[in-house]
């Protein structure tokens, strides 16, 4: 069957949409201070922000793995209303404006917060505006990506592999570590990469809950924002380029997986 021709109006609108994606990228690449890029890269502000970003995003991903896989297992087991409620709770951070997430974290873990007041009263410990807060903010925003991917993997898993393992004498933990986890590896991997990418780019929740303290909470996205605000656009553009390169690398490396799984 020959398909109907696309009317010019649609083609024009589609082209405009594409330009909206393309022009900013072009701007970033064309206006990048290529000559000074190396200098910017070795600037202490840049390296500190980069190091902190990598530490926070990797830690957030690790926490998401430890907490998110069990959460996905519970989600995959539940049905009906329980499942809908749990699902809504775990996916809310994906649609919630990150700033709101930051405010919510502050109200829960802040010095006068719901839970945060306790460690402050007992030990004088405060969570907000620390590196721990940056990690928490990133975990809060990014973990749902992992949970959703792993839950989808669990739901499509053929449970007869686990039954075969049990009938061969394997107890719960052996089945879990030798059969379930290896079979889930693709789902866990793509979920972890998505989660890490989201954590790396996190801005709104982090700046609200953790603030902007170089070396402690100033991650790359925050450094980009501050750089632009304080008339140091070259550093901002260089850091943006780095984030762009990372994103493109993830997109290229994962395209088969994403197109297949999502």
């Amino acid at each position: 069957m020959k398909r109907a021709r696309i009317p010019p109006a649609i083609a024009v609108l589609a082209g405009l949409g594409l330009l909206l994606f393309l022009l900013p990228l072009a701007g970033l690449i064309v206006r990048a201070p290529w000559g000074q890029a190396l200098g910017q890269l070795t600037d202490p502000t840049t390296t500190t922000a980069l190091g902190l970003s990598i530490f926070c995003s990797v830690t957030a991903t690790a926490i998401a793995l430890v907490l998110g896989i069990p959460l996905a297992m519970i989600l995959a087991r539940t049905r009906g209303t329980t499942r809908n409620v749990l699902r809504a709770l775990t996916t809310l951070p994906m649609v919630l404006p990150p700033v709101v997430g930051g405010v919510a974290l502050l109200l829960a873990f802040g010095r006068h917060g719901l839970v945060g007041s306790l460690p402050y009263r007992w030990f004088g410990l405060q969570i907000p505006f620390t590196t721990a807060a940056a990690v928490m903010a990133e975990t809060f925003v990014a973990m749902p990506f992992l949970v959703i991917a792993v839950e989808a993997g669990l739901r499509s898993l053929d449970h007869r592999y686990e039954e075969a393992a049990r009938s061969l004498g394997a107890g719960y933990w052996r089945v879990f570590t030798r059969v379930t986890l290896p079979l889930l590896r693709p789902a866990i991997f793509s979920g972890a990469v998505l989660c890490w990418a989201r954590a790396l780019g996190e801005f709104g929740a982090t700046i609200t809950f953790a603030g902007n303290f170089p070396g402690r909470t100033q991650t790359v996205p925050i450094a980009v924002y501050i750089g632009l605000e304080s008339n140091n656009p070259d550093a901002a553009i260089t850091l943006s380029l780095i984030l762009l390169v990372v994103s493109v690398a993830i997109l290229v490396g994962m395209r088969d997986r994403w197109l297949g799984a999502l």
Partner: protein, 347 residues
């Protein structure tokens, strides 16, 4: 060593209710149409599904719901072979077999697993991933995986059904060989009568969750007690009430037989004993009915003719006879069965 089991499981539409007693060294085949509850039964014996009743293997109570005893699957020593191998896709053939040995903390898991593969002539596939094994090889490795842990009970769920016809013989040979040297209790579930006849010492015929017949394959096919068994034995099965030399069938029809006895009976008529005529024949036969040809199946030089009428029967004739009689769908025909050709036994 024996398996004694009474299993009740409620399912959509019917309740599975089966009692089994299987001595070691015997292969019991649970035979029945799809949806009869065969796999449910096997999973319950393996400890994978909830059930009601009692399962005792070699003196050990594996399940007793009245006393809240449930031994989990991993402690039952019940090896399970699935219809489609279910080999762990991330492990090699060798590691698949070693998996159970490691789980049960047996020494020298790798070398024991390798010996199983070598003995089965599959040594050269030890390092192959399941994906690269042929269907027959994969199912044979799955069988070895179950046997390597030396289970007391071997449960086989349609082990040949998913295989191409061309490799079925290869796997059946392996299965026969392994079953005969396996010392535990063997339970095979299948909907394929040939598979059951080839591998089983005793049959349990299951329909809609209930046992309709048990016995050796010969006993079961000689005296079918259900349409399913009659079809697989290729005979006509009628049910009625006997009185002397006559069996009253449903409707107004009746059947002449020799020594039919009294009470509810089954009557079996072999298709070759059903003669077909264009016109009403004269003479001695006492069973004569009129019918209409409903279907014609060619089987080599024989033809099976399904005839509908007061007594629906399948007749088997030669191709020549079919042409002479002008048998085609819708044609009128007379059916004749000698009383001596009707075998009657109590229902």
């Amino acid at each position: 060593m024996t398996l004694e089991a009474t299993v009740r499981i409620k399912r959509d539409g019917f309740t599975l209710d089966v009692s089994l007693s299987v001595p070691a060294g015997e292969t019991l085949a649970v035979l029945g149409p799809n949806g009869a509850g065969k796999t449910t039964l096997l999973r319950a014996l393996a400890g994978l599904d909830e059930m009601e009743g009692r399962v005792v293997l070699d003196g050990t109570v594996l399940e007793d719901t009245s006393r809240r005893v449930h031994v989990p699957a991993e402690h039952r020593r019940a090896g399970l072979v699935f219809q489609d191998h279910v080999l762990f896709p991330h492990l090699t053939a060798l590691e698949n077999i070693a998996f159970g040995l490691r789980a049960q903390r047996r020494p020298h898991a790798t070398s024991v697993a390798r010996k199983w593969l070598d003995d089965a002539g599959l040594g050269d596939r030890a390092d192959s991933m399941p994906k690269s094994l042929s269907g027959g090889q994969a199912q044979r490795v799955a069988l070895l995986r179950a046997l390597a842990t030396e289970p007391k009970l071997l449960l086989l769920d349609e082990p040949l059904a998913a295989l191409d016809v061309s490799v079925r013989a290869e796997v059946r040979r392996e299965l026969t060989r392994q079953l005969s040297s396996f010392r535990g209790v063997r339970v095979l579930v299948t909907h394929d009568p040939l598979e059951a006849m080839a591998l089983a010492d005793r049959l349990v015929v299951l329909e809609r969750g209930s046992v309709v017949q048990t016995g050796t394959p010969d006993e079961v096919t000689a005296r079918p007690r259900s349409r399913f068994v009659a079809d697989l034995a290729g005979v006509n099965l009628l049910r009625g009430r006997a009185h002397g030399d006559r069996v009253a069938l449903s409707g107004d029809a009746s059947l002449a037989a020799v020594d039919a006895g009294t009470g509810d009976v089954f009557a079996v008529i072999h298709p070759r004993a059903v003669a077909l005529y264009r016109a009403r024949p004269d003479g001695t036969p006492r069973n004569v009915w009129r019918g209409e040809v409903e279907g014609v199946d060619l089987q080599g030089d024989r033809v099976r003719v399904r005839v509908n009428g007061p007594v629906p029967l399948v007749a088997e004739v030669t191709r020549g006879a079919m042409q002479e009689l002008g048998l085609s769908v819708g044609a009128g025909v007379w059916l004749v069965v000698k009383a001596t050709e009707v075998s009657v036994y109590p229902a």
